[in-house]
């Protein structure tokens, strides 16, 4: 964790500070979430404007059920990446990542930087599978995840309903970390044989 906080320069020269959330700043999160337009907020799983949910989020971070990164400009939080970390049960090796960026900072590469960073943290935390659920029409995010090495596990039909009541398919994207290490070790093994 020594690499945090760090400054990330985005494509238009915008410098953002990226840091690990060691504890939840409820007031800061409230400002971030309540300033989001309702139609963006709908892509979140919970009513993050409610005090109860904000407190639950703080507990998740405190007891290790979540790992979070945030990006800041002039101390204002402009994006958050969340890793759900199940502590028990049959999917305890699967971490789901989610990223949210403030409307006025979308399209600047904040989301991309957060996706890459939260993913590398999931690998560091030794999860076997990293998962992302993406709306089928969100091709930019799907392409980015595929470039990182995620693959499409399948499509859940009509799994998401937007602010206007329209339903969308969700693509379940996953990255198998064990397979990556296996592929890498095979690659290096072949390389060694080639060298000799």
């Amino acid at each position: 964790m020594s690499e945090y906080p760090k400054t990330v320069t985005l494509k238009d020269g915008l410098k953002v500070l990226m840091d690990v959330k060691r504890q939840e700043n409820i007031e800061q999160s409230r400002i971030f979430f309540t300033s989001m337009p309702p139609e963006d907020r709908l892509y979140l799983r919970r009513d993050v404007t409610s005090q109860k949910v904000l407190e639950e989020r703080a507990r998740e971070l405190a007891d290790g059920r979540a790992f979070r990164l945030a990006t800041y400009v002039n101390d204002e939080m402009i994006g958050e990446a969340n890793l759900d970390r199940p502590l028990y049960g049959w999917t305890r090796h699967v971490a789901e990542m989610r990223v949210v960026v403030a409307r006025q900072h979308q399209g600047k590469g904040v989301g991309k930087a957060l996706i890459r960073e939260i993913f590398s943290n999931a690998v560091r935390l030794k999860y076997t599978i990293v998962e992302a659920n993406v709306i089928e029409e969100d091709t930019k995010v799907l392409d980015l995840l595929e470039r990182i090495g995620f693959h499409r596990e399948g499509v859940l039909r009509n799994q998401a309903m937007d602010f206007y009541g329209k339903k969308h398919n969700i693509v379940v994207m996953s990255f198998n970390v064990d397979d990556m290490w296996k592929d890498l070790s095979e690659y290096y093994h072949s390389f060694e044989i080639y060298k000799t």
Binding site: L42, D47, Y88, G89, N158, D162
Partner: protein, 177 residues
């Protein structure tokens, strides 16, 4: 919930009662949970052998985002099932069904019976899609849901890790209402 309690007679098995889980079910529910063999217990999301977890589950079961039903035989809980959904967010129209039947009462139709009841409750809550997750090897559960009209939707590779650390594929089945 006005339809409960409901008595159901199963051929050769006698009479069972189905009703919502209540706050005073703590001891019966804990007993039911602790009787689940460890290998079955791992297919649950939480450690239901822990009284604190059970207490929390029962409290949560009273929330409007969840429906919990239990099947009783002579005051003993022999099956429990739930439909859980989020009241907010992009999946507010989706309910997830979960079912557990006591080992000594499996393969008697109790799972199908409870699943049917939960499905009716889901319709009442205006849930538009019901989904269920299981290991791809859980053939009786798959057959039971297929009989209710569920379809196989997605197979997630190695999404389940059992007690021995072995990976299994997870099947997601669903039915749109």
């Amino acid at each position: 919930m006005a339809r409960y309690p409901k008595s159901v007679r199963l051929r050769d098995e006698g009479v069972f009662s189905i009703r919502p889980l209540r706050l005073d079910d703590f001891n019966a529910f804990l007993m039911f949970s602790r009787d689940i063999p460890p290998e079955d217990r791992l297919f649950l999301r939480r450690d239901v052998s822990d009284p604190e977890v059970v207490q929390k589950m029962i409290a949560e079961s009273q929330s409007e985002s969840e429906i919990w039903l239990v099947t009783l035989k002579d005051q003993r809980i022999v099956a429990q099932g739930s439909i859980q959904r989020s009241l907010h967010g992009w999946m507010r129209h989706v309910g997830e069904m979960r079912l557990v039947v006591a080992r000594d009462f499996q393969r008697r139709g109790l799972g199908s019976l409870l699943a049917r009841e939960l499905f009716i409750c889901a319709i009442g809550l205006k849930i538009e899609k019901v989904m269920a997750k299981m290991a791809i090897e859980q053939l009786p559960s798959i057959k039971c849901l297929e009989k209710l009209g569920f379809q196989k939707e997605v197979v997630l590779h190695n999404y389940i890790k059992d007690l021995n650390g072995l990976y299994h594929d997870m099947l997601i089945m669903s039915q749109e209402i």
